[in-house]
């Protein structure tokens, strides 16, 4: 997939910087609650289960399963025009949380719900690498 400079490059915030720093180091990081053990994503100040502030960052395994997906035929914006057709999916990490991603490294028609995938990273800028998933 091309990495056109017009693509919506994320800007890390105070809350999400550890996540994006992890991606740059080829680590997929999520949060774990030290009080109740709950794993969560997106990053937040408090635990979504017990609302504790004892939030820690952990390195996820990078393994996940495809929950659902679509093949995009008409790009969302001109920046994605060279990429069509491309797969956007929701994947469930082995650690529990769900995230949106692209499935890369296989033909779009090979993607299926329930498929095992693993994380890979695509550099978009000096600071930002985008986590994507490929067949495991």
């Amino acid at each position: 997939m091309a990495t056109g400079s017009d693509k919506p490059i994320p800007t890390a915030t105070f809350e999400t910087r550890p996540y994006w720093e992890g991606c740059k180091r080829r680590e997929l990081r999520i949060q774990r609650c030290a009080a109740c053990g709950h794993n969560q994503f997106f990053p937040r100040l408090y635990c979504t289960r017990c609302f504790s502030d004892r939030i820690e960052w952990i390195k996820a395994s990078g393994r996940a399963t495809v929950s659902t997906f679509t093949i995009v035929r008409r790009p969302v914006s001109p920046a994605f025009a060279d990429d069509v057709p491309y797969v956007v999916a929701l994947v469930k990490l082995d650690e529990g949380p769900t995230m949106m991603t692209n499935i890369v490294g296989c033909a779009p028609e090979q993607v299926a719900i329930g498929m095992a995938v693993r994380v890979t990273f695509e550099d978009w800028s000096e600071e930002i690498a985008i986590p994507k998933f490929e067949p495991a």
């Binding site: 915030t13 994006w20 997106f42 659902t68 679509t70 008409r74 999916a89």
Partner: protein, 388 residues
């Protein structure tokens, strides 16, 4: 305190829809308001409460105040609700609460936008893509139809729902639009037409997707007691309920069911009615799979059977549960946040018996379901031709 039987709609107005050249979004808001006032036999000075949603094309920091200023009305209750498809039902919920608590006597709700004339189609599609999370969704390049394609695929996988079943929703809406001179798309279509239309985001075809439109609609709500003195038959609010689960689809609790379930349960409970009591339904149909999920979550069929439910004309006029009798967002019009307004004005006209060729016979009780975001925010409304 229950809102059941407490308020009624006494006036409705729809502008022309589709491509409405030479009209700005603001003009459409105000024209819709004028038409609703005329329908109710009121003057603008009778309005003491105003609710709008911000225009996507022509936004203002204080949108409702701007519309009041434009009309030169000076309400004692004035609020702008968010720019989303689900907030139309919520606006009516707020208006009803304001009337019952004495914040206002006569509330005008008006919504419009000019998504064709006010902005290019390409710009509209790109602008709508800003719906995703800036860091965790937008980098993956998902257009709005793609968000709903994720849900369609999950429903297909879980329950065996088919492309033909989704197409039956589009066919029913178009059939009803063909009987509605006001609708944007009136040429009947077949299931085959839907399946042969261009694939947008698998598994959704072009004709599984709603329209892009200009247009606006308004309604006027007042107390049931005052409603008796109006020229047109009042339409009573019997039940209302909301449910809210998320903003971003990647945070949704479920991909195959929604807070339409909670919204519906709350509305049915207030009304003391169930799905079996509903004569027709106006269901939010931004994309065909949404209707199938809503039919299940609102209890018209068991979970997973929505696909089979829409087969065989059951949701068409003359069927067991006619839906989207004006043509819905799929075929009547979809100017963005005003979408559900036309569902409400249609339900009112049906319950008054004003719908001519597309009139639901003996229509007494209607359900309107409004949805916004990506199955994020839900409001169910139940209306009656009489208080019950």
């Amino acid at each position: 305190m229950s809102l059941k039987n407490q308020v009624a709609i006494v006036g409705v107005g729809d502008t022309k829809v589709g491509v409405v050249p030479g009209m700005s979004a603001t003009q459409l808001y105000v024209q819709a308001a004028k038409l609703a006032l005329d329908d109710a036999g009121l003057t603008k000075n009778d309005i003491d409460g105003l609710i709008t949603s911000n225009s996507f094309v022509e936004p203002y920091m204080y949108h409702a105040e701007m519309i009041a200023e434009y009309m030169q009305i000076f309400p004692r209750y004035c609020i702008t609700v968010p720019t989303g498809g689900g907030t139309t039902g919520a606006a009516l919920h707020h208006a009803a609460s304001a009337i019952v608590t004495g914040m206002a006597d006569t509330v005008l709700v008006t919504k419009a936008d000019s998504q064709i004339t006010g902005m290019s189609r390409a710009k509209a599609i790109e602008a709508m893509a800003t719906a995703g999370h800036a860091q965790f969704e937008r980098p993956y390049g998902l257009p709005i139809p793609g968000y709903y394609a994720l849900l369609a695929r999950a429903h297909e996988h879980a329950y065996g729902t088919t492309a033909e079943q989704r197409a039956a929703v589009a066919v029913a809406c178009r059939k009803h639009a063909s009987m509605n001179p006001a609708a944007q798309m009136r040429d009947p279509i077949t299931i085959d037409d839907v399946l042969k239309s261009r694939m947008i985001c698998d598994p959704l075809h072009l004709l599984d997707c709603s329209l892009v439109s200009d247009g606006g609609a308004a309604f006027i709500l007042t107390s049931a007691e005052r409603a008796r003195d109006f020229p047109k038959k009042p339409v009573y609010l019997l039940g209302v309920g909301e449910g809210h689960t998320h903003e971003h689809v990647s945070q949704a609790l479920s991909l195959t069911s929604s807070a339409a379930r909670e919204a519906g349960e709350r509305a049915y409970k207030m009304a003391g009615l169930g799905p079996q009591d509903i004569d027709f339904a106006e269901l939010y149909d931004c994309f065909t799979p949404v209707v199938i999920i809503e039919l299940e979550d609102l209890g018209f069929c068991p979970k997973g059977e929505g696909g089979r439910f829409v087969e065989g004309g059951r949701i068409e006029l003359g069927g067991e549960l006619p839906i989207n009798t004006h043509g819905g967002l799929l075929s009547h019009c979809h100017p963005g946040q005003p979408g559900s307004m036309f569902a409400i004005t249609e339900a009112v006209r049906q319950l008054r018996g004003e719908c001519g060729q597309r009139q639901v016979r003996d229509a007494r009780t209607a359900l309107v379901h409004c949805q916004g975001g990506i199955m994020s925010t839900h409001c169910t409304l139940i209306f009656g031709a009489e208080q019950i």
